[in-house]
Symmetry: C2
């Protein structure tokens, strides 16, 4: 085994082949691409998507890669910036609790742009994407919860390492240049949680993807960085409150995989609110509409979420997505938390929801895992009912796929979802990588 | 006075006018532009300059701004990335000990690119540049030595805030959008000292400049960030080991100025080695050529430099620039430390220099300021001579100008230096901002 973390990652980038994965793992990687595509298309008219696209479009350049929402193609680095931002604009994309962030939005835009720019086939695109996801999970875990708690947004940071790894693979770099790619992205990766609730958050996904493309391109041209930039003294982890357990996060790299524990979002709000929403939905299906009359609601969650999604009295649709109290009220009141339009300014001003929201108390419990929640509801008759939800419980890959197809149909309509599904399912068997053309036509 | 650090900076960005400065301060700002231009032109064929320019050129795009070494113009964001890198490739550009980094290289490329792209006149360009320098100094001091010691490279970090401020001014943003510019660059700024000795270091200057242009452009299009991103809880300073003294660094902003304490480099190596080199040169001019026979040399420096420029036995020209011991040997042996070609691989392998280098001991002394050094030389006859040098001692602005003109002549020849000097001196009185055309023709 290669010596040192970056050397190990470089060896993995050069040697991995997706044909060694199980059918379920390949299905999951394709589900990520399907879900990413639908969420990105649905997000193309969000203000942040329009703004970043406008800058990108005004810059123009060599027509290398498709940009969702734009007729013209742009350089891969710019396309990755724009598509990354667009795909995270709705905050409805997949997440991973090793990565501690949103996975596909930081990585797939890099793969999509360079795959098209370099004329790679679908198999190479899939190889590179899985490499990117797996590296982001491993690096995310290496940086650890300490990094996240300190204020860094792993979607942007670990995501940039994933995007860099995927880009290096698509450029077919050798191990030495893969090392310089990862070293260079160590000094480029950035993104702070204090931008949550602003356009900065979705922009972070664009930054990750664009930084990855940039680092690999420069390394392919001979750029020399410090190839231990991730793990060295005063390297990225050391300076960015990384937990720095050098062994466990990289155990079995290339032999066992973590990327397939990715979580898809079925509620259009911050992932931290999902376990409480699922717990309260389960209670509502037991109690019926009377659930909206609850005297009090107590949520117990892991303390890490208090700084993430605990806006007490949100005033905008965007803030609503980061509010335990309001999303809980929505769940109990039977609002459709899967629908984008549920999270609007009007919902924040709704007096019934506000009343219910004010009966929600959020408590922290260190003993809970980061994707667990306990919800306790006190009914008007004084009875207490509780439900515990743990998102880590395994979900069947085929069942997940079915739910994602339904979600894609809800977001972009049936014909578009069907076209996407067919394109993604034949990705690794088609001679040409056709997804960019499909997205260009669906997103026009 | 506006409330909060960012609000205060935004007010300054919108209200400052360079005509309120003293003639010496204006001369100093122009000296920065003269020196930046000469050093950038001299660095255009360095490998890192070629690599970044090759990526930029392959991307192409709207011809907004001149790129040194390239016939075609490129988008301002890309031009800033390339010119920033090129101007820091030789590590021969100016520095500032409030900023704690290289000042002009992170800021002027943003000003140059947007000034040309937007068709601003020389007065507006000068206003924006001084704003950028002053903001970088103030933010650099706010982040403090703790930030630098922790591993961050202020040229890239404080530099990005300076470039963002200058860019916001050139785009004529109002205070609110200036706030979003600074908020956005808070989540974009990056750069680690662990890249020193690699191409990563000069690239940091390009990152600062390009990040500044990007943030201001996006804010001009309506991008909403967290406008307290610099100073808020888990904002840039908080997460990046900033010292966070919220008052002193911003005292008198807009009334008194710090930018004019900028330091110019007269030796073609790391600024940390300059005080020791000046001290040893003073001793050599007293002792004569016999100085090269010294039995032992002791350098006393501030401990912060040990991680920066204490490569004991450098093997390459680049490493030589970060070696107290070898640069000391060069100074005592009468080598021309102002000449670029002195710092080459052959000098590292020179047996005479190596012998002298091995007689140098570096000691740290907390009582010394960061730009002070004490050199003690023991001669063959047993005599000890010492010299103390403090770079903070004021130097006359006109004398500095004379030395910079000589330096420019040494770097790019007499006719080019004369053309530059005339262009820079008439910057604020000419109707058109002609420097981009002049640099394009000199750098072709």
């Amino acid at each position: 085994m290669a010596d040192g973390i970056t050397a190990q990652l470089a060896e993995f980038i050069c040697s991995f082949e997706s044909r060694l994965l199980s059918p379920d793992q390949i299905l999951t990687a394709k589900s990520c691409i399907l879900d990413w595509s639908a969420v990105a298309l649905a997000g193309r008219d969000e203000p942040v998507s329009r703004i970043v696209r406008e800058m990108a479009s005004s810059e123009g350049g060599t027509p290398e890669a498709m940009v969702i929402g734009l007729a013209d193609r742009l350089p891969a680095r710019t396309a990755a910036l724009s598509n990354g931002t667009t795909s995270h604009a709705l905050d409805y994309d997949d997440t991973h609790f090793d990565h501690i962030g949103h996975s596909s939005v930081g990585i797939f835009p890099a793969v999509l742009a360079l795959g098209e720019a370099l004329g790679r086939d679908g198999r190479e695109v899939l190889d590179a994407f899985v490499i990117g996801l797996e590296v982001a999970c491993r690096v995310g875990r290496y940086l650890g919860n300490g990094h996240y708690r300190h204020g860094f947004h792993q979607t942007a940071t670990a995501g940039a390492f994933g995007a860099a790894a995927a880009s290096a693979r698509l450029l077919r770099l050798d191990e030495e240049r893969c090392g310089h790619t990862l070293g260079l992205v160590s000094t480029r990766a950035s993104g702070l949680k204090s931008q949550f609730g602003t356009m900065g958050k979705p922009f972070h996904a664009g930054l990750a993807a664009s930084n990855g493309v940039e680092a690999a391109k420069l390394a392919s041209l001979g750029f020399i960085s410090n190839p231990q930039g991730l793990e060295c003294v005063q390297g990225f982890a050391d300076t960015h409150a990384g937990e720095g357990d050098a062994q466990t996060p990289f155990d079995g790299l290339g032999q066992t995989f973590r990327f397939d524990r990715v979580q898809f979002k079925h509620h259009a709000c911050c992932h931290g609110t999902h376990a409480p929403i699922d717990a309260l939905k389960a209670l509502r299906s037991k109690i019926g509409p009377e659930a909206a009359q609850a005297r009090s609601i107590v949520l117990r969650v892991h303390p890490q979420w208090l700084r993430v999604c605990n806006i007490l009295s949100p005033a905008t649709g965007l803030e609503a997505k980061f509010s335990f109290r309001l999303t809980s009220a929505m769940a109990l009141a039977g609002r459709d938390t899967a629908a984008l339009e549920t999270f609007c300014d009007a919902a924040c001003a709704d007096p019934d929801l506000a009343q219910l929201r004010d009966r929600v108390t959020v408590e922290t419990d260190d003993a809970l895992g980061s994707i667990e929640a306990l919800a306790i509801v006190e009914l008007p008759d004084g009875r207490h009912l509780e439900h515990h939800c743990d998102l880590a419980e395994p979900v069947d890959a085929a069942l997940t796929r079915t739910r994602l197809v339904e979600k894609a149909e809800a977001l972009i309509g049936h014909p578009a979802a069907a076209t996407l599904l067919e394109t993604v399912d034949t990705l690794d068997t088609s001679e040409r990588f056709t997804l960019p053309d499909v997205l260009a036509s669906l997103g026009a």
